[in-house]
Symmetry: C2
Subunit: 150 residues, 2 copies
DNA sequence: TAAATATATATCGCATGCGATACATTTTTA
DNA sequence: TAAAAATGTATCGCATGCGATATATATTTA
């Protein structure tokens, strides 16, 4: 039975990571409902609030999402009136994503959300800092070793 | 602009958590393909390798998944011949999930996966320990405060 | 410059993940 | 014990997330 010790759920790092991500996203749902946003849509809006505008591939690089996720999601945000999508005049392949007035205004309604989430997560600033750094370290390691099998 | 500082992606803890979970699951895909398992199916199999058998609600409590996810997933695992599903003789509502020979045997093929993933994640044992504990702390905090708005 | 490549986005199919609802069976209550 | 409530599972609809492929446009190459 010792042989299988490494396969115990309680010995996996991926499992609490998977649960944490899932549960935290779940805790956002009630906060985001008044803004008519899902969690992924919220991430996209945060990106746009910082960048003002972007094409899909730059957005995808920043959020680690591909067009097969972003294109339909952006079409939904356009339908809600939060963003505009138009072909770039410089490059007919590019799609320029820009905030509308309404999408920009949403930012004000969103300002309370980060503090609400900090209360849910309930770590000390020091703990949060350590967790943050370890997560980015893992991300870096994962990206670094991504193409080992080539 | 200071007002919106808290809304920057680089100031969110949820974002690297979300990315880490997503990217790590992505890294499992090639390891799990030979076993014909997705990540969530792998989690379910790990649970069953430990428990031998279970009903759906106990499994759901352990994995934080509801029947709307588990029922179709378990039907797929049954179709692959890894598990059996049958009504409990004691309680006609309960569905007993048990490993088949083939499902149990899969455990041997899976033993190398945890070490492969540790290599991808590439943290020191100390870092992994800290990350593990912080994640479970967050999970506890999230579950604890779950019913605040009642 | 015509053909081959590369780039940017879109679409398709499948597997979650979850809110909401429906159904069957058991347990509790009046 | 008949009705009500609780429990366990299943189904539906929608939003990701991603592998694979298709399409349109730009760039490079022969």
């Amino acid at each position: 039975m010792e042989v299988y010790e490494s396969l115990r759920l309680s010995n996996q790092l991926c499992f609490p990571l998977y649960l944490c991500s899932k549960e935290i996203i779940g805790r956002y749902t009630p906060f985001l409902k008044p803004l008519d946003l899902t969690y992924t849509q919220y991430i996209v809006m945060m990106y746009l609030w910082e960048q003002q505008h972007s094409n899909i591939s730059d957005m995808g690089k920043a959020l680690l999402l591909d067009t097969n996720t972003l294109t339909p999601l952006l079409q939904k945000l356009e339908a809600k009136g939060y963003i505009e999508r138009q072909k770039s005049p410089n490059d007919g392949r590019e799609m320029i994503i820009a905030l509308t007035e309404r999408g920009y205004a949403l930012r004000t309604e969103a300002t309370k959300i980060p503090e609400l989430m900090r209360t849910c997560i309930n770590l000390t600033p020091e703990e949060a800092e350590i967790l943050y750094k370890l997560l980015y370290k893992v991300l870096l390691n994962l990206e670094g070793g991504k193409h080992d099998n080539h």
